[in-house]
Symmetry: C2
Subunit: 234 residues, 2 copies
């Protein structure tokens, strides 16, 4: 049986859209990508695909030759990166954890990132005040504590998909010193993360560096170039 048609509405720089690309790549699904220019969104996008006007979104089951800018009525449309990943994992259970305890531990680590790291990192990268470093380090420590040993082996799962784009970007931007901070603050952050309390964070980063599904769906050079520009104008 042919797999129903999957169209991903994506944007190269967006870490949320990156989650969807990794999930589709890791699952072995056949899919088409429609690149959405976030600075100049096409007029059809919000009314026809996602009223919230964000990426990613996917369409599932549109007829093979139908217009990707206007899926016919009855096509299943789904926005929100976490839901898209969950949906893909429902279709391709091999990318999800088999053990309920490991799955729950991995979900808790994702929540710790959302609650304790995401906002603090954005603040530090885009405002870069020295006083924002300590709360970020504390959040990264608690996140690192929460990463279950069980997901740091050779297997990749949903936590790698959900966390991957964010953990990877944190290390890229810090290493390349791309932030509204005093020059050298990025590498200084990386150096602060060399302590034993961040062991699992570093292991996760190293694991993600070796993952084809992630590396083949990101373009580091463009990311660095574009974010350097974005921060210049921020």
């Amino acid at each position: 049986m042919t797999q129903p048609r999957i169209v991903l509405y994506s944007a190269l720089l967006c870490p949320f859209a990156h989650r969807a690309r990794i999930a589709l790549k890791a699952s072995g699904a056949v899919y088409e990508t429609v690149e959405i220019d976030l600075k100049n969104k096409p007029a059809w996008y919000a009314p026809n695909i996602n009223p919230a006007s964000k990426v990613p979104a996917i369409s599932y089951g549109a007829p093979p030759d139908s217009d990707v800018t206007k899926p016919p009525a009855g096509t299943f449309l789904l926005p929100e990166s976490a839901l898209v990943v969950q949906f893909i994992a429902s279709l391709y259970p091999q990318i999800d954890y088999k053990d309920p305890i490991i799955r729950a531990k991995a979900s808790f680590a994702q929540l710790q990132w959302d609650n304790l790291v995401a906002g603090r990192w954005r603040k530090y990268q885009f405002e870069g005040s020295e006083q924002d470093l300590e709360p970020l380090l504390e959040g990264l420590k608690q996140f690192s504590d929460s990463v279950p040993e069980e997901i740091l082996g050779d297997e990749y799962g949903v936590a790698d998909i959900i966390l991957g784009p964010f953990v990877t970007r944190l290390f890229i931007f810090a290493n390349e010193d791309i932030g509204k901070w005093a020059p050298g603050s990025g590498p200084k952050l990386v150096s602060a993360l060399s302590g034993p309390e961040y062991d699992k964070l570093r292991k996760l980063g190293a694991k993600l560096d070796k993952w084809p599904a992630l590396q083949e769906t990101i373009d580091n050079d463009i990311l660095v170039k574009k974010f350097t520009e974005i921060l210049k104008n921020h």
Copy 2:
């Protein structure tokens, strides 16, 4: 094989803890409940069960006669209501949706409640300014739009568990006029919800009213009595 021991740390009034009670009841799991007094939390709770000091949390697999206030090392402890429900659904898949599309639609409705209703409802109930009604009604309309027809039948699933405590409380508090608002504002809200744009919200409420797993894990009289007091002192 005996099921590993499940201990739920709960609080009767808390809608998040209510999710966990419904999930356990609906799944047919055998479980013990430890009631945590949220106004006077026991000293052992945060260090031994949940560092965030919130309910619900569960312990899974503690030895049968071990102390519930101090589960031995190696016991799996899990906080956060959505993760607890997800974990229970991993153990008892019969409470989850089989169809990935229905599951995704239900997850989207849950997200709409979180993003568009939860905060607005809390604001309206606890501040009750007339100007807060319109945004709440708009949020409830968008939420109602998002509820998939497929979950409004006779079957109960994860969306009913996640949304149930909140949808049910909204109708109870509005009907009983329990809020920091002008007297009569609660029934006025219920009356505003009689329009066709809220059809699916009302259907969901009616469905939840008939669900033993929900009704047997809530005490409406105590809820009304306690919240009347809480609002008096708020």
